[in-house]
């Protein structure tokens, strides 16, 4: 498969995520859109890893070329899991205080 396909697919997913962040007001959905963007990046990383592994197929260390990319994806998932746990805790906190998950109520930064 040409790498371009994967690049465009990832960009498309990423931009859908961005459009979601921009258009929605529900904090949980915005959060999910961020997860979607993370996954788009993950997909691209795996694709690049396989691209490099294909290029190095003839080399003696072919077994390790490209593993970095996939390990990065692994770590991104680790961080995302931690982030979601904290982020959802914040959203719960926010709901408890203002009885809404609408980000437009979060305008205290103005003051």
């Amino acid at each position: 498969m040409p790498i371009n396909y994967y690049i465009f697919l990832s960009i498309a997913l990423f931009c859908i995520g961005i459009a979601g962040v921009l258009t929605r007001r529900n904090a949980i959905i915005i959060f999910m859109c961020i997860e979607l963007m993370l996954n788009a990046v993950n997909l691209l990383l795996v694709a690049f890893s396989k691209m490099h592994s294909a290029a190095a197929a003839a080399l003696p260390d072919a077994a390790t070329v490209g593993t970095d990319g996939q390990l990065f994806v692994f770590f991104i998932m680790v961080v995302a899991a931690a982030e979601v746990s904290v982020g959802l805790a914040i959203i719960v906190m926010m709901y408890r205080n203002i009885h809404s998950v609408d980000v437009n109520f979060l305008n205290r930064l103005k003051h």
Binding site: P2, I16, M32, G66, L71, A81
Partner: protein, 166 residues
């Protein structure tokens, strides 16, 4: 068009459609479900790329743990009704337009780069197998791996501290 290509297009269309539905669904529960569909199709892509370990981790961690957490929160807050007030039409329009513009710009910019001529190894290759990744992870990447456990610990404590009633 062989079977791999057919599968690629099928999974891509599913992923994009799922993503669109996540953004456009009015009910958050539906959004979560569509997102799970998207994650499954991305896992399918991983399998197609012979990254079996990541495919499984993706399903377990994302589609399993994280999305369940989302569902729990939504249900806890009783948000599963169509309660979201609509945003101003102009804001929505501007958001969609900016997203589209970003898509256009990125596609135009990356259309004819150096890497675009390269191709991806599909269906074969052993680096995605758990044996190879595990060896790397516990040799070269052992320090970040251990640090990530500390990250989890602190995230857990943070979540408890933030979430507890004061």
């Amino acid at each position: 068009m062989n079977i791999t290509q057919i599968l690629f297009w099928l999974l891509s269309v599913t992923a994009l459609f799922g993503a669109m539905m996540v953004v456009t669904s009015r009910n958050p529960v539906y959004s979560v479900l569509w997102l799970i569909l998207t994650f499954f199709s991305i896992s399918g892509h991983y399998i197609l790329l012979n990254a079996q370990f990541l495919a499984i981790v993706n399903i377990i961690v994302y589609a399993g743990a994280i999305m369940v957490l989302f569902l729990f929160v939504i249900m806890l807050m009783n948000l599963n009704k169509n309660a979201e007030p609509t945003r101003g039409r102009w804001i929505k329009f501007a958001g969609a337009i900016s997203g589209g513009c970003l898509l256009l710009v990125l596609v135009a910019a990356l259309r004819s780069t150096e890497v675009s001529s390269k191709s991806v190894q599909v269906g074969v290759g052993e680096i995605g197998l758990i044996k190879n990744l595990g060896r790397e992870l516990f040799t070269n990447y052992v320090v970040p791996f251990e640090i990530s456990s500390i990250l989890f610990l602190s995230a857990m404590i943070g979540a408890v501290v933030i979430g507890k009633k004061d």
